[in-house]
């Protein structure tokens, strides 16, 4: 109990610092853009875990939902106020994910993964074809927004995704999700509406990805299907979440932050080395640290307190 209080105070202090930060460094928009970028990856990873963490279904569709958000923003940005545009991006992604999820989530294991993989490419190719043959122009110009606005929007989305993940983890809905991950049949027999729970949680996770896409869209001045539906937005969140660990809320945050910073440091000068390090880290993490950085941290904490209970005890509880 006491430990819980201490960590929540820590979290609140950290968040306050984050929100107040721009007031101190308002002269440098670089830092603000950097933090927005980190938050983008954090939200993508955290929202990926909402669905894929407890159920074990590996979705490679984040890029599809991110891209839908980007395009909603690009199309509606001129006519609607910003918060509405961002919300529309999220809702569009939710609807897409809910429909796709209802149709496909009965696919088992790897078949679902392959499906989501194809989905991103399908949408990207369709949008591209549409632009070439119907609108006649590939890509769109965007009137960029103030980095500070993007930053605050990302902070709000970040807080929202944390809150929603936390709530889901403590609700009956979250219990149902974990039950599905353990055994789908057993969950169905215990009265869980398996298809609905899966489709809704897939939709919720897509909602945040759509919000992120719709927000980050304003950082660019030009978008086309290749940038909006880039497979990197599918791969990165998955790998970051696994690197950080998925048992606790902070796992994906750490994983995403570390790699977003590394990307910032390396990507302009040594882009290939960055991705190379990324790949190697992935292999090492999967081979040797199955619960990610989080597993290591939890082990330290347990050792420090002299507790005998295993780390595995906490797995899945968020």
């Amino acid at each position: 109990m006491k430990k819980g209080h201490r960590s929540s105070i820590l979290i609140i202090v950290a968040l306050l610092l984050l929100v107040l930060l721009p007031a101190y460094i308002s002269s440098s928009s670089y830092t603000i853009i950097l933090i927005s970028n980190i938050l983008m990856y954090v939200v993508m990873a955290e929202s990926w875990v909402i669905f894929s963490g407890p159920t074990g279904y590996i979705s490679l569709a984040p890029a599809a939902f991110f891209g839908v958000g980007v395009y909603s923003s690009a199309i509606l940005g001129e006519v609607l106020p910003l918060p509405v545009v961002i919300l529309v991006g999220g809702i569009a992604s939710f609807i897409l994910a809910y429909l796709v999820g209802s149709a496909t989530l009965r696919l088992k294991g790897m078949y679902f993964t392959m499906f989501t993989f194809g989905l991103v490419e399908l949408i990207r190719n369709l949008v591209h074809w549409w632009e070439v043959n119907v609108t006649g122009t590939v890509g769109r110009l965007i009137a960029s927004e103030d980095p500070l606005v993007v930053f605050y929007a990302m902070v709000v989305i970040f807080l929202a995704v944390l809150a929603v993940s936390w709530l889901i983890g403590r609700s009956k809905f979250g219990l149902a999700l974990r039950g599905i991950g353990e055994s789908e049949e057993a969950a169905a027999h215990s009265g869980v509406n398996v298809d609905r729970v899966k489709a809704v949680s897939f939709g919720v996770s897509a909602f945040f990805m759509g919000l992120t896409g719709a927000t980050m869209c304003w950082r660019w001045s030009y978008i086309d299907p290749t940038t909006a539906f880039n497979m990197q937005y599918s791969f990165m969140p998955v790998l970051m979440a696994i690197f950080g660990g998925m048992g606790h809320l902070y796992g994906p945050v750490i994983g995403a932050t570390i790699f977003a910073l590394l990307e910032e440091l390396l990507t302009t000068k040594f882009p290939y080395y960055y991705m190379l390090i990324f790949g190697l880290t992935m292999i090492v993490v999967i081979r040797f640290m199955s619960s990610g950085l989080e597993g290591v941290i939890e082990k330290w904490r347990k050792v420090g307190k002299g507790g005998a209970e295993g780390v595995a005890h906490d797995a899945g509880k968020r």
Binding site: I58, G118, L122, N125, I242, L276, G279, L280
Partner: protein, 291 residues
């Protein structure tokens, strides 16, 4: 005239489908038997293509000879990767389903490693070479000679592999491992060796597929692999997992569809692939020939 047009489409589809099939057979071995959904499959195709380019433009070795040089090399790479990465992962994973998830994620890592090593070696700009590019008249339809060579070689490789699988002891072991790895092990099959063999063979076929592809005057770039991974996935699902004959038929069907669609509405062939793929996954995930 109509007849020539149809012939043109059928042969064109066959020529594309032959390579698709070869690529898919390799992918099917890795997933159907070794249980690794190898997202990095396309990277081996890319490596094969670049080996052909390097040997041809720097050393003057023709791609058909390069195939003989590269085959054992890529087989060894695949074999070693399985032994040092996937085999330990298999023993440490709690269940086959967990292994499937973990091995797929590890293959992501592999994808990034291979792709970026290739970018460091060859750089990002596209490359290409021409080889056997003179026109050949096939029953009234005209194709370049290199495409016909690729089809002939793919068919030879495919049939050779099929014969190997059906008539040798090792082939039998592979088929047994595909059906039930645990039972195969109890029957005295050295399972980890057989699975490593499958992974190695898969990598080899990918590389050979890449070598053949590079002959057909396509643009080579280190990022080209992903699209072929996708094609391999689609063909394998189309033909049914672990079904060699199915992979060949699936490859040819996909080749035909791609060729027809791109001759009617260029730019939509990728979309057509995905529509078939998504439709099939929803209606009959076990594949056209599946039970």
């Amino acid at each position: 005239m109509i007849l020539v047009r149809i012939l043109d489409i059928v042969i064109g589809g066959l020529l594309t489908g032959g390579i698709f099939a070869l690529i898919a057979v390799g992918f099917g071995l890795q997933y159907g038997v070794a249980r690794v959904l190898n997202i990095a499959h396309g990277e081996f195709i890319m490596l094969g293509a670049f080996c052909a380019w390097t040997l041809f433009t720097k050393a003057g070795i023709t791609p058909l000879v390069s195939m003989i040089i590269c085959a054992p090399f890529f087989f060894a790479i695949g074999y070693v990767i399985y032994r040092i990465l996937y085999n330990p992962l298999r023993s440490s994973s709690a269940s086959p389903a967990v292994f499937e998830g973990n091995s797929m994620l590890a293959s992501f890592g592999l994808l990034f490693v291979i792709q970026n090593v290739a970018l460091l070696i060859w750089g990002a700009p596209v490359k290409g070479y021409t080889y056997l590019a003179f026109p050949v008249n096939v029953l009234g339809a005209v194709f370049s000679a290199n495409r016909i060579v690729t089809l002939v070689v793919s068919v030879i490789l495919g049939s050779a592999f099929y014969a190997f699988l059906m008539s040798t002891r090792t082939g039998k072991a592979i088929r047994a491992a595909a059906q039930d790895p645990d039972a195969a092990e109890l029957m005295g099959v050295r399972i980890s060796r057989v699975l490593a063999l499958c992974f190695g063979l898969g990598a080899m076929m990918a590389a050979l597929g890449g070598l053949l592809l590079s002959m057909t005057s396509i643009m080579l770039a280190p990022v080209m692999g992903m699209q072929y991974t996708l094609i391999a996935i689609i063909v394998v699902v189309l033909g049914g997992l672990g079904n060699i004959k199915g992979s060949f038929i699936g490859g040819v069907i996909l080749g035909l569809v791609g060729y027809i669609v791109s001759s009617v509405q260029p730019g939509l062939s990728m979309v057509a692939y995905y529509v078939i793929f998504l439709f099939l996954l929803l209606v009959k995930p076990s594949g056209l020939l599946g039970k």
